[in-house]
């Protein structure tokens, strides 16, 4: 059977993400191969970074972390289709990730973006939730 955790434990796991993100966190959009871990330097290119709220979310509830408002990046770094995203404690850092997730366009990723990112364009995030799967 799969490992199961109580709701309180699931919430605590997600709340640790909020704590680790701290006061300044960004949602980074990268292209290229997905690195082995959130702190492994990517081989691809950073396309955009959207500033997250402080804290990034209210306390998790029912095993779900729902991120608060995320500020659009109105001056994207580079053009490309993102293949993964990271919640990172730095705007452009390559080894400061906390959470790493897949990205795709227009669908098929953990984070889906309607079309490719264009350098100097705008990237907006309308919602981001993380559900602890250990129910």
């Amino acid at each position: 059977m799969a490992v199961q955790y109580a709701i309180t434990t699931r919430n605590n796991r997600l709340d640790e993400v909020i704590a680790d993100a701290g006061a300044s966190a960004w949602l980074q959009f990268w292209n290229g191969a997905v690195p082995a871990t959130p702190v492994t330097a990517p081989a691809g290119t950073l396309l955009a970074s959207c500033a997250m709220s402080n804290p990034i979310a209210p306390a998790a509830s029912s095993g779900v972390l729902t991120c608060s408002g995320i500020t659009s990046d109105t001056d994207a770094n580079a053009s490309g289709t993102p293949t993964f995203c990271r919640i990172s404690t730095t705007e452009t850092g390559t080894t400061s990730g906390i959470v790493q997730m897949s990205a795709a366009s227009p669908s098929g990723g953990d984070i889906n973006i309607d079309q490719a990112i264009v350098a100097t364009g705008t990237v907006a995030v309308s919602g981001l939730t993380i559900t602890d799967g250990s129910s």
């Binding site: 490719a116 264009v118 705008t122 995030v125 559900t131 799967g133």
Partner: protein, 35 residues
């Protein structure tokens, strides 16, 4: 990874808006007038 370890589920929605077309330069406009 433990095969019994269930995966967390991330749902994110993003949109990309290309930059507006750059304004024509004065040189270009003058060239159009000359033409």
């Amino acid at each position: 990874m433990n095969v019994n370890d269930p995966k967390d589920i991330v749902v994110g929605v993003a949109t990309s808006t290309p930059p507006p077309n750059p304004p024509k330069s004065e040189t270009t406009e003058q060239e159009e007038e000359d033409a």
